[in-house]
Symmetry: C2
């Protein structure tokens, strides 16, 4: 198991994204939230994946296969209403830390979120967000991608 220490913020104003890395990310669920199994389609630029998460709360098996664009497009229509589509910009803050800025599209537009990863909890707590960051939503589960895929933008 890997633990990530991250903080997540709304975005008050888009920063200068010159030099940032840009990726197209689409993910959607073939299964409904109450189904016993979760099957997710995911695209990142020209790479496509199908991921299965088995039922069970303590131990959830995860299996993933890379799939072709054609296979992705065959099943993608069935994720309608359970999708997250976004552009992800990866860049560096003035202090050298990496940020990942998600500019949502489709049903979730015009939401924007930015995440920063830290190497310790202490470091995360001491972090001073730059002026273009908005409210801290790290603890707000409604902003999880999976919840937004089903429930849309939080009120």
């Amino acid at each position: 198991m890997t633990t990530e220490i991250e903080r997540k913020f709304l975005v008050a104003a888009l920063p200068d994204l010159t030099g940032a890395d840009r990726a197209v990310v689409r993910q959607g669920y073939l299964t409904a939230p109450d189904d016993s199994t979760e099957l997710r389609l995911r695209q990142k630029n020209d790479t496509y994946f199908l991921t299965l998460k088995g039922g069970g709360s303590l131990v959830r098996v995860e299996r993933e296969a890379e799939i072709s664009a054609k296979q992705f497009e065959t099943f993608w229509p069935e994720t309608e209403g359970r999708r997250v589509e976004k552009e992800r910009f990866t860049g560096k803050l003035a202090d050298g830390r990496v940020f990942e800025l998600d500019v949502f599209q489709g049903d979730l537009a015009p939401l924007r979120l930015v995440e920063v990863e830290f190497s310790s909890e202490n470091e995360a707590q001491q972090f001073t967000p730059p002026p273009w960051f908005g409210s801290d939503v790290t603890e707000d589960k409604r902003y999880k991608n999976k919840n937004m895929a089903i429930n849309g933008i939080p009120d």
Copy 2:
């Protein structure tokens, strides 16, 4: 929509299968019967498919993609307990009609079923089964592959 007119029988004794075509067939479900979506893996010899059937009772969308052996094997373990594995022999009866004989393996061994397809209902009714055929189970839904995948061999 295609309508097939078929009769299905148990097998009293295996016939001479010299000259019959032999295929390995495996199919299994990634989803449980009560889930909103059905996802099925299917292998026929060296060809592999993933098939999705959407929810809804009147109109059920079906989408299918050919997948690689590697992709098949990635997800196959998650079909455990919801599988049909069989050898399918395709041959001809003395009257020239084609039969498909399924010799089940795994949890469904030693069940054997044989099917014959007809071009009309009248022809199906007039059919005289050869001596190696057993009881007619055409109308017995317990012998549907999908039911047996979940419930095993009918009592």
